[in-house]
């Protein structure tokens, strides 16, 4: 899974910061999982699909961790 730096504990949002030390100190870098958005569309509209076990309807999107292998199942037949 890929992670991207988001911020330091002091709110800085760049991964490099400057510290002036006269005594011991502790800092924490926070990361978030990087995601990619998968949008499902269908013709005709309104078809439901199952993406990695999660049911979504055409027109909806799902965010998945970058690098995730995706299995999408659509119905063989639909009634309109």
């Amino acid at each position: 899974m890929k992670y991207r730096f988001t911020h330091w504990e002091n709110g800085d949002i760049t991964p490099q910061r400057t510290l002036t030390l006269s005594a011991d100190a502790a800092v924490t870098a926070t990361y978030a999982v990087m995601t990619k958005r998968l949008t499902f569309a269908s013709t005709p509209i309104g078809v439901q699909a199952v993406v990695n076990g999660q049911t979504i309807t055409a027109g909806q999107s799902i965010d998945l961790p970058e690098g995730t292998q995706v299995t999408i199942i659509v119905p063989g037949e639909v009634s309109v």
């Binding site: 899974m1 890929k2 992670y3 991207r4 730096f5 991964p15 490099q16 910061r17 400057t18 510290l19 002036t20 030390l21 006269s22 005594a23 011991d24 100190a25 502790a26 800092v27 924490t28 870098a29 926070t30 990361y31 990087m34 690098g67």
Partner: protein, 280 residues
């Protein structure tokens, strides 16, 4: 040098200590805290005078069993609060060495002899056994006034068969040689913390105003002189990531390791950089 025990409080608890003593009214407190005056953690000791009675013995101490005729105990002490409130004849002891019967062989700390005098480094030590089997002890003060400005102070107490020594920041502050007719017993128990004895100030008004707040770190007990940590005590920079991802860290553009890490750096300004993206 044979080390009998040492403690940096990095574990975050006091499980390594065999004895914990909290006495007094109100009772004091102690516990490992993130107070990085030497390392990342230190142990906090708070001893509070009674709001209703004369200050006698209030203790916040931890201890370990030993068995030594020759013993050195060193700790770094950071006195955060209370020195300026000391009254004449008040004593704060930071290191205690006990005999097999539980009585005190030697204590080291600070003592104030008059209302106007600055507290000074002091020891009290057992030196002669009386005919009835009890022992006579004596106080002795060093020559250095204590500056109330908080700072890390290296305090080391030695008890040998016939010598007591107090070392402050690597300097011999007090040395007393004794000639007991009956040999002094071994030290079987060593304590650090705050043992507050007093004569002058009571009651504590308002309660809590006369609080001794002391931090300790880098405790070592050994069979020979230990001394201060060699070289300058460099600030330690702790770098974590959340979640913990073993992120590569660069200080001043030099790779220093992966999180979580503790790096010793010189005082002054430094750049710290972490990788922007990591795959885990």
């Amino acid at each position: 040098m044979a080390i009998l025990f040492q403690e940096t409080f990095a574990s975050g608890n006091l499980n390594n200590w065999q004895h914990q003593t909290l006495t007094g009214t109100p009772v004091g407190s102690m516990g490992v805290v993130n107070f990085p005056f030497i390392g990342v953690s230190a142990n906090s000791f708070r001893s509070i005078a009674s709001p209703t009675t004369n200050l006698t013995d209030t203790r916040a101490e931890i201890g370990k069993d030993v068995n030594a005729s020759e013993l050195y105990v060193r700790t770094y002490v950071y006195i955060a609060q209370g020195i300026t409130a000391m009254a004449a004849l008040d004593r704060w002891y930071f290191i205690e060495l006990l005999a097999p019967d539980g009585s005190i062989l030697a204590v080291a700390g600070i003592r104030k002899t008059s209302a106007t005098a600055a507290p000074r480094w002091s020891i009290a030590y057992r030196h002669q056994q009386n005919a009835d089997g009890t022992w006579t002890s004596t106080n002795f003060q060093g020559s250095s006034d204590i500056d109330p400005t908080p700072r890390p102070i290296c305090v080391e107490l030695r008890k040998s068969p016939n010598t007591y020594e107090l070392w402050i920041d690597g300097n011999l502050e007090i040395s007393r040689t004794v000639t007991p007719t009956v040999a002094l017993p071994n030290v079987v128990h060593a304590r650090i913390g705050v043992y507050k004895r007093g004569g002058g100030t009571a009651p504590d008004t308002p309660p809590g105003a006369y609080t001794a707040e002391v931090y300790m770190d880098e405790v070592v007990a050994a069979d020979s002189y230990i001394g201060p940590i060699s070289g300058p005590v460099l600030p330690k920079l702790t770098i974590n990531s959340s979640p913990e991802l073993n992120v590569p860290v660069y200080i001043d553009n030099n790779f220093v390791g992966n999180t979580p890490l503790i790096a010793e750096v010189s005082s002054g300004t430094h750049t710290v950089r972490v990788e922007q993206e990591v795959t885990r």
